[in-house]
Amino acid sequence: MTTAWHVDPRLARRYADGAMDLALATSVEAHLVACASCRDVIGAVVPTDRLDSIWDGLAAELDAPRPGLVERFLTRLGMREDTARLLVTTASLRLSWLTSLALVLGFAALTAGSGDRGRLLFLTVAPLLPVAGVAAAFAGPLDPVRDVAAAAPYSRFRLILLRALAVLATSIGFAAVAGVLVIDEGWLAVGWLLPALALVSTTLALSARFDPVHAAAAVGLVWVMVVWSHAPLRQVSFAAFAPPAQLVYLLVTIAAVIVVVAARTVFDYDRRSR
């Protein structure tokens, strides 16, 4: 194919250096497709290191993970791409974790249908799930890259809060649906919400000093004792979810949040004697 117009050396140089504006570059490229001699002209002046870096960039993008559905959804909502990545890599936000979460809640919801004892069981379990999730999000054995992450500049405190919030949001969402479905008395269906916040924030506060899994286990144990101490063998009591108790959970939450914020450098620079 013959055309009147060809790429002159000056134009070729500008194209090769990447100094050409987009419109002109596009028309040069359109011409290059058809014109072998101009391809030779430009090919001779493109520096090899520039070609290499373009090629490396291409290879890097090919190898790069493709953002999944959740990740794309989060970035669509305006979350930064790197923050979304950190969230979806949380162990207790993986599909396997969420599946077991749904299963546990499902069983608890089933028992809730069988009377007061079952409902109390559901209300006991619902706030424990985010506690387990938060502990799993950053506990030593469950966060295999813990030491690498600790030596990285990204604030560990920020990472822990970010993941704790995400875990809290997902498990509360699950439990809310289940609660509304199985418990018909309005206030009781959400009665586990403040306990959940209190338990999670207390677990975080204790993690400043102790291993997160131990902290979660201790908090969980105390919670079960609190709920069921009101319910001796025969009688079921929902006293642990009554308004006075709710006020206590609110105060515990506030106190624990204050401790967590005050202890934030401990999460960033480990001073514990483990």
Partner: protein, 289 residues
């Protein structure tokens, strides 16, 4: 001599009531510094302190001239730091690329495209660019070790803290690692612990021997080897004064310890010197052939 890039002074660190480091002072300069010592000597604790993962109970830490005690300064150090822990568990469901990309995010590489290029670069450095898209569970042990090293190289850090980087590698991989680490040691500070005294002798300009929480030797490898001069000899029988002796392939015994007057000395190696330094007390108690 240049100013030290790692200065740990009077470091004390205990786990519950078990002391790991007792008043340890350790200095490293640009180049490769090796850390040698028996299991439980405190090597990992010392490296974790040098990697700003752990704060000491007592003592002063200065890394690249900065004190990690304050939050902002610690961030500044961490931006110039690469750390390879002794065992990096890697999420098995990650691909090799995803894993390094994840750490790159934690290293505050915010811009997506340039981050991906950096991940691609470090995977190339450790020779894993071909398996970038493979899942971690499909990689061999040696590959995982190289993958773990790759993340430490992100951002071309000035200070590299490598805890037993060559453990679990086959001989060829180990030599490749040696090649890579020696190149990394040009112009940067590399702290390296290893049980392999050959690796340390080959790579390090400076060696520190840690024993029960104390630095018992610090200096060039040749100086450490020289301490075993006249303590290693050959004989036809297992010698009574030897701390350790073994029969070599040529039928002669190689003895390390207190030689008899008529001993036929052989040139000592780094491990002989290390052995004499570290095990003397404990082994002489056993004594005898």
């Amino acid at each position: 001599m240049t100013t030290p890039t790692v200065e740990l002074t009077g470091i004390v660190k205990s786990y519950r009531r078990t002391p790991a480091l007792r008043d340890t002072t350790f200095v490293a300069h640009p180049g490769i510094t090796g850390l040698l010592g028996p299991n439980g000597a405190g090597k990992t604790t010392l490296l974790r302190i040098a990697a700003t993962v752990l704060a000491p109970d007592q003592g002063v830490v200065r890394l690249l001239g900065l004190n990690p005690h304050s939050d902002e300064v610690r961030g500044e150090i961490r931006r110039q730091l690469g750390y390879l822990p002794q065992d990096v568990g890697i999420h098995r469901f990650f691909t090799a690329f995803e894993f390094v990309d994840y750490i790159a995010i934690l290293k505050e590489m915010v811009h997506r495209r340039s981050r991906h290029q950096e991940v691609h670069r470090v995977l190339g450095l450790v020779g894993l660019d071909d398996v970038a898209r493979k899942r971690v569970y499909a990689l061999s042990g040696g590959m995982r070790r190289r993958l773990a090293l790759a993340q430490a190289l992100l951002g071309d850090p000035q200070l590299l803290v490598l805890d037993e980087p060559t453990s679990g590698l086959d001989p060829e991989q180990r030599l490749r690692f040696r090649d890579l680490i020696s190149r990394l040691g040009e112009g940067r500070t590399v702290l390296l612990s290893s049980h392999n005294s050959d690796d340390l002798a080959a790579l390090c300009g400076h060696i520190a021997v840690l024993h029960s929480g104390h630095i018992v030797f610090a200096g060039p490898p040749a100086e450490l080897i020289a301490t075993a001069e006249g303590r290693v000899w050959q004989s036809t029988q297992r010698a009574p004064g030897a701390l350790l002796a073994w029969r070599t392939g040529d039928g002669l015994y190689r003895n390390v310890g207190d030689p008899p007057p008529d001993a036929t000395f052989v040139p000592p190696q780094l491990e002989d010197a290390y052995l004499l330094l570290v095990r003397q007390d404990s082994l002489s108690a056993v004594g005898g052939p």
